[in-house]
């Protein structure tokens, strides 16, 4: 038997790594992948909590998150493609048109 806590701690680790990835990389595709990693970490803890509370809602939520993630990836990648077309870069620092 594995204590459920382990899973949650493990998901925290993954989450932190994902966060780190978002912060340190400049390649927008990799940043996007890191976000997926974070989502996965969250999913894992959902399933773990679902186990703890013996409730099915956690799994349902994971299901919905997956669906939303799929949608998000579709739109996000489309955005990246569009940006690449107009700026010819996927470097996140090349997109800093918001500078005040």
């Amino acid at each position: 038997m594995i204590p459920v806590t382990y899973y949650i701690i493990f998901s925290a680790v993954l989450f932190s790594l994902g966060t780190l990835g978002v912060l340190i990389r400049r390649n927008s595709l990799v940043i996007f992948m890191s976000i997926e990693l974070m989502l996965n970490a969250a999913n894992l803890s959902f399933v773990a909590f679902s186990r703890i509370h013996e409730s099915f809602s956690g799994q349902i939520f994971v299901f919905f998150i997956m669906a939303v993630a799929a949608a998000e990836v579709a739109v996000g990648l489309a955005l990246i493609v569009t940006i690449y077309r107009s700026r010819h870069t996927i470097d996140i620092d090349g997109m800093s048109s918001l500078k005040g």
Partner: protein
């Protein structure tokens, strides 16, 4: 140290390694492959947690669909070898913050939930795909339907966004 726990740790190590690989790999392709491995590992964790449906969905949706999409985009744009340079200069603050975050997270879990919670496998009932279906089509019907609309919208949005802007043929007709 049961066999299960051994398996857990092996998988955990693989997962963390691939995650770190994602962070550090210079090639986008390698980053994507690391991530796929990570996803598959997580899927096995789901199996261990008695969630076979989610596990399968994880493999098909994430490892299958989503990652394939990533690879497509990488190849479409021809950026396989454009390496994102790691910027060591500004690394210190992100790392510090991430570590604090992790520490806080672990502390919270240990403090609030307790270190060793064992939950007996609830058996097939909890993890049955049909149970899942039952919930989805009764209590969660509306969100379910809304999700489908969301997917549709995302699909339309993705097409609209990535479509090449053609020179407006009908532009002159639209006088309004």
């Amino acid at each position: 140290m049961t066999l299960e726990l051994v398996l857990f740790f092996i998988l955990a190590v693989i997962a963390v390694t691939t995650a770190v690989g994602l962070l550090t790999s210079r090639s986008t392709i390698y980053a994507a492959l690391h991530l796929v491995t990570n996803f598959v590992t997580v899927a096995i964790f789901y199996l261990l947690l008695d969630a076979p449906f989610i596990a399968l969905a994880q493999v098909t949706v994430y490892a299958g669909a989503i990652m394939v999409l990533f690879l497509f985009v990488i190849m479409l744009l021809g950026i396989e070898n454009i390496a994102g340079e790691l910027e060591w200069k500004g690394l210190i603050w992100p790392v510090v913050m991430a570590v604090i975050l992790l520490a806080e997270g672990i502390f919270l879990v240990v403090q609030r939930i307790g270190k060793n919670i064992y939950v007996e496998s609830a058996g097939t009932e909890l993890s049955n795909a049909s149970t899942m279906a039952k919930y989805l089509f009764t209590d969660y019907l509306l969100p379910f339907e809304i999700t489908s609309i969301l997917l549709l919208v995302a699909m339309v949005g993705a097409i609209v966004l990535s479509k090449h802007e053609k020179p407006a043929k009908r532009g002159l007709e639209k006088t309004r």
